[in-house]
Each structure stands twice: as structure tokens, then as C-alpha cells.
């Protein structure tokens, strides 16, 4: 165990006194599929032993390319498919021993949604609430509240096939939380949405967290993982290759890059800064600014400024360049997520 206050690693086998009990704890989860090709059946390992913990009130993101095993993992946790191996405890209920109990405590929204074209959002919401066991009056009350909360009242009594992509997605989420689950699983909540609808969906997800939900999303959008998620697991070929807050992940690979535009020749600055303990590497690209690799730009920049000033080296600009999550993905898998 690391001694950081924040839970950085997936496995919290012995949570420290201050660390909360995980809301979702997954250990050794596996799933393979039989794939038939030219009369030969081969087994494809979709998920190869996933361990992670998600803590109450977190927005946890599963970031990875298509086919990485994100949806398979999510569907196992949502009781839709049975794992080949491994265990998971979700909101206090054991996934394998008490799937019915897990279903009561979680909400799940599939990537494609699941509304019927010929019925209205209100009818869908009432039915969904009734499938969770609520009586008619209570189901109608919940539907009304959900329509208001997701700003759908205006279209409540129109058939689902008349909705825009963003409206339909909001209906999907409203259906997923109609029973006030403790944990919400969202599979690619903003896939194929326009930027405006996407930003709006992020707000909806943040509001759900404010209502006390723990949200587990999958995404292949770097911006979404970065902007929305408290912690991210990067998943590739069915395995978690990296796990932490977006900032931790970025710092983990190469630290930050600070570029300095010098007024005079580079040599004295290189000689000076190479000696400093907070600088890991100095590069002088031809015709460009000096590039300093530091572990944390926030603490390094003031020191750089002081050192340069003290040595009387003149400079006209100083810039911070943080690595992106794509740099992290590239470092961990050898591929860029943007290309895959």
C-alpha cells in the first residue's frame, strides 16, 4: 500500500483508517468468449483479470479504445453476463451470490439506450419504475420528478422516436436512475452526441453525483475522462494498464514540461538548470524554447524563476505544458488512443 491519503491503487485490501469502504470492489474479474471462425471455435479473452475499487461519490472512468473490454466489464458488474472468474461486491451485495440484490441497488444505461419508439418518455419511466416494484401512483410520481429533473417535461408525452439524440440520451439516463440507485453504470454516455449535448450530459452526471450516487462510466473520449472523472482506469486488451486521478496518471509517465524562452544564448541556462534537483531532463530543440522536464510544474516553476533570476539569465516567457491522457495511453500501450 502506498501511504498517500488518496486511494491511488485499485486494490484496497487493507484500507487505511481514513479511507472509506469501497462502493465497488472488483477482484480478478475475467470473461472469455467462444468465437467461431471457419468452423474452428477459438476462445477470445475479453477481460483478463480486472482489479479495482471505486469509492462512494466518485465519478470513475473506464478509458480505452473500442474492443478493450470496457462494455464487457460493465455488463458483468451490472449482472447482465456472468463472469468466468473473479468476484465483485457492489454497494454491499455480492455480484455472484446475490445478483437480484445488486440489481436493486444499481442503475445501468447501455450505450444504445433501450427506449421503444412507439411509446412516450413518461410511459417508459412509469414502466421502468413499476419493474422495480413500485406501485402505480409512486411510479407516476417518480416519472414526473425524473421528467422535471432531466428537463424533459416539455416532450414527456411525445413518442420516443421524435426525440433528438441528446433528449433520447437524457431519457435513457432518467430510466437508469428512476429507482434512485446507489451506483450508476453508464456505458459511453456521450457517444455520438454533439459537443453541446455532451457538455450538458457531463453536467447531468455531476448532478447525479451531488445526489449521492457513485457513477462508473466508460468512455473512449480523452476529454471526457479528463474533464468528468475523478479517477480513471485505462484499459487495453482486457487489462487495466494504469489507474489513478487524471493528474496522477499524467504525472506518472513523464511529469510536466516547462518551456522557457531565453533572451540570450542557451548554454548558461542549460548548465545552470541541469544541476537543479527538481529538473529531471533539459532539452534544447533547434530554434525553439528550452524544454525542462520536471516532476511537478506547480512547484518547479517558482524555483526555475528564482534560479534564472539569481544567475542573471534573461528570459522573455515561461510556459507550462502538461502531458495529455493520450500521452499516458501512448506510454502504457505503445499506441495513441486517437488513432485506434
Amino acid at each position: 500500500m502506498t501511504s498517500t491519503a488518496e486511494p491511488v491503487t485499485g486494490r484496497a485490501e487493507q484500507p487505511e483508517a481514513k479511507a472509506p469502504e469501497p462502493m465497488i470492489s472488483v477482484s480478478g474479474l475475467r470473461k472469455s468468449y467462444a468465437v467461431k471462425h471457419k468452423r474452428k471455435t477459438t476462445s477470445v479473452e475479453a477481460v483478463r483479470g480486472i482489479d479495482l475499487s471505486v469509492f462512494p461519490g466518485e465519478i470513475f472512468g473506464f478509458l480505452g479504445p473500442n474492443g478493450a473490454g470496457k462494455t464487457t466489464t460493465l455488463r458483468m458488474l451490472a449482472t447482465l453476463i456472468t463472469p468466468d472468474d473473479g468476484t465483485a461486491v457492489i454497494a454491499g451485495a455480492d455480484l455472484r451470490r446475490r445478483p437480484a440484490e445488486v440489481r436493486r441497488r444499481i442503475g445501468y444505461v447501455a450505450q444504445g439506450g433501450g427506449t421503444v419508439d412507439e411509446v412516450t418518455a413518461r410511459e417508459e419511466l412509469v414502466l421502468q419504475a413499476r419493474m422495480y416494484g413500485f406501485g402505480r401512483a409512486e411510479a407516476e410520481r417518480r416519472a414526473e420528478a425524473a421528467l422535471a429533473a432531466f428537463d424533459l417535461s416539455e416532450y414527456a408525452d411525445r413518442n420516443c422516436n421524435t426525440y433528438s439524440g441528446g433528449q433520447r440520451r437524457r431519457v435513457d439516463i432518467a430510466l437508469g436512475v428512476i429507482h434512485d440507485p446507489v451506483v450508476l453504470f453508464l456505458d459511453e454516455p456521450t457517444a455520438s452526441l454533439d459537443p453541446q449535448s455532451r457538455a450538458r450530459m457531463w453536467d447531468e452526471v455531476r448532478r447525479l453525483r451531488e445526489r449521492g450516487m457513485t457513477v462508473f462510466i466508460t468512455t473512449h473520449y480523452l476529454e471526457e475522462a479528463d474533464a468528468l472523472c475523478d479517477r480513471i482506469a485505462i484499459i487495453d486488451h482486457g487489462e487495466v494498464v494504469s489507474l489513478g486521478t487524471p493528474d496522477q496518471l499524467k504525472r506518472e509517465i513523464s511529469g510536466d514540461v516547462v518551456s522557457v524562452g531565453l533572451a540570450g544564448p542557451a548554454e548558461p541556462a542549460v548548465a545552470l538548470l541541469s544541476e537543479m534537483s527538481y529538473v529531471t531532463k533539459v532539452e534544447t530543440p533547434e530554434g525553439e524554447d528550452l524544454r525542462l522536464y520536471v516532476s511537478d510544474a506547480g512547484t518547479a516553476i517558482p524555483q526555475i524563476l528564482r534560479s534564472l533570476d539569481a544567475a542573471g539569465i534573461e528570459f522573455d516567457k515561461i510556459e507550462l505544458q502538461r502531458p495529455s491522457l493520450d500521452d499516458v495511453f501512448l506510454a502504457k500501450t505503445g499506441r495513441s488512443l486517437r488513432e485506434s
Partner: protein
């Protein structure tokens, strides 16, 4: 890693029958609402039997004279039950298509994350298929009355029980086949291949009493042949005819395991 998959002592629907009935009713209501919102499907479903009723009618009396139809009413008593069996059988055999479409659209997955019974999801759907077919069958029965069809109410009700069982059996078989095949493009030809001989060997259009011995011997193995004979006897008002109880018993004995089979496939194969 310990084995954690504990088998429950009883299936959920047995352990909690009220929950199961309520959930089946919820699914049934929803499916009926969709039927109501897409009346075009009903029109298409009924167009063919109505066309048969109107266009085949003039041929009936002379054609069925050989099997003892002396009046137009006699002819209709033989012909209309066959028409209803065809309607129920062929339409219910295509129920699997609807199931595959709903699976692809994520509608069933959305229900499967709730604690709702898996069997209720399937049974509610099968019952809505059957209810729709029975409605269509009623319409055809009523339309045949001006042509001279006369029926007695109690045998007619028993005939409808027979049609309900046939519908449930055919829909369950269709669900099971659809879950095995999974590909709608392959399902169509497959069901057509099964449905055509089954329908013809039920003697739905013409009674197989006209058929040579070998054909009747083959038909004896077709449960829908027995059911068709029973339905005909009931439309003739012969409640006590042996073909009635034989048909009902055979359908019951087959429908229960067919439903069990499709429900099992549904809870195991759907993912």
C-alpha cells in the same frame, strides 16, 4: 477462488408467484400498448385470412362436398377453423423475429437490469402475441357469420382455448429457435421451411380425410393436425368428440415443456 454460484432452492416465479404474475402483466400491458400504437401490423396480419375468406368462399361448397359438406354453413364449419389455425400458427411462429429485434434495440436489456423475472419478460410477450391473434381470430369468426357460419357458444369457447394453446406453443418454439439462430436473416427462411409443411400437414385448408393413407400417416405425427381436427369438431358443435380432448391434451403436454425450454434459453443465452 471459491465456487460462489449458489443454486436457489426454487425458481423465483415459484418462490414468489404474485411478483411473477404482476411482472408478466406489466410486460403484457406494454406489448399490447405497442400493438395498439401500430395498427398497421394488425391490418397486415389479418389481410391474408380475410382475403382467403372472401376469395375462397365461392369454391367451398362443391370442394368440400366430398367430406360431407351439404350446405354452405357446413363448408364454413370445416374451412374457418382451418383458417384460424393457419393464422395463429404462422403468426405465432414468427414471434421470434420480434424478440430478436427487441434484443438488438436494447429494450430487453433495459428490463434485465431490473429485478424483474426473466420468465415474465418472455411469457408477457408470448401472451400479448396470443391475445393479438385471438382478437384477429374473433374478427374472422364474426366476418364468416354472414357467409353462413353458425356456431354454438360453449364449443366455440373451447375452440378458442385450443387456439390459445396453439399460439403459446408456436410462439415458445419460435422464441427458442430465434435464440438458437440469433440471426434474423437466417430465421426467416428457417421458420418458413418449418411452417409450410406443418401447416399443410395439419389439413388447415382442406381436411386430410381427402389425403392418401401415407399422407395421413405422416400427419398423425403432427400435433397441429390433432389440434386442427379438434378445432373443427368444436366448430361443428361436437364438444364430446374424441379429437377435442386428444387435441387439448396433446397441446398441453407440448406447450408446457416448450415454454420451459424457451425460458431456459432466454435466461441463459441472452447477453
Amino acid at each position: 477462488m471459491t465456487a460462489v454460484l449458489g443454486a436457489p432452492a426454487l425458481p423465483a416465479q415459484v418462490a414468489n408467484p404474485m411478483k411473477f404474475v404482476r411482472e408478466t402483466w406489466l410486460v403484457f400491458q406494454r406489448q399490447m400498448l405497442i400493438v395498439k400504437r401500430t395498427p398497421i401490423r394488425l391490418v397486415i396480419g389479418i389481410a391474408q385470412p380475410v382475403a382467403y375468406l372472401l376469395l375462397f368462399a365461392p369454391l367451398l361448397k362443391p370442394a368440400l362436398a366430398t367430406v360431407g359438406a351439404r350446405t354452405t354453413a357446413d363448408a364454413y364449419r370445416i374451412y374457418v377453423p382451418g383458417l384460424l389455425v393457419i393464422l395463429v400458427l404462422l403468426s405465432a411462429l414468427f414471434a421470434g423475429f420480434g424478440l430478436l429485434a427487441e434484443l438488438r434495440a436494447g429494450i430487453i436489456e433495459r428490463a434485465r437490469v431490473t429485478p424483474v423475472s426473466r420468465f415474465a419478460l418472455l411469457l408477457g410477450r408470448a401472451l400479448s402475441e396470443v391475445a393479438t391473434l385471438i382478437g384477429q381470430a374473433l374478427l374472422i369468426t364474426v366476418l364468416a357469420i354472414p357467409f353462413g357460419l353458425t356456431v354454438r357458444i360453449v364449443p366455440l369457447l373451447v375452440a378458442y382455448v385450443m387456439l390459445v394453446l396453439m399460439g403459446l406453443l408456436a410462439a415458445s418454439l419460435s422464441y427458442g429457435i430465434a435464440l438458437l439462430v440469433k440471426n434474423p436473416a437466417a430465421l426467416g427462411p428457417l421458420i418458413n421451411t418449418v411452417a409450410q409443411p406443418v401447416a399443410l400437414l395439419s389439413g388447415v385448408l382442406l381436411p386430410l380425410t381427402l389425403a392418401p393413407g401415407w399422407l395421413r400417416a405422416v400427419a398423425n405425427w403432427n400435433p397441429f393436425y390433432w389440434a386442427t381436427n379438434g378445432t373443427r369438431a368444436l366448430f361443428g358443435g361436437h364438444l364430446g368428440d374424441a379429437s377435442v380432448w386428444k387435441g387439448l391434451l396433446l397441446l398441453l403436454v407440448l406447450t408446457v415443456p416448450a415454454m420451459w425450454w424457451s425460458a431456459r434459453l432466454f435466461s441463459r443465452r441472452v447477453r
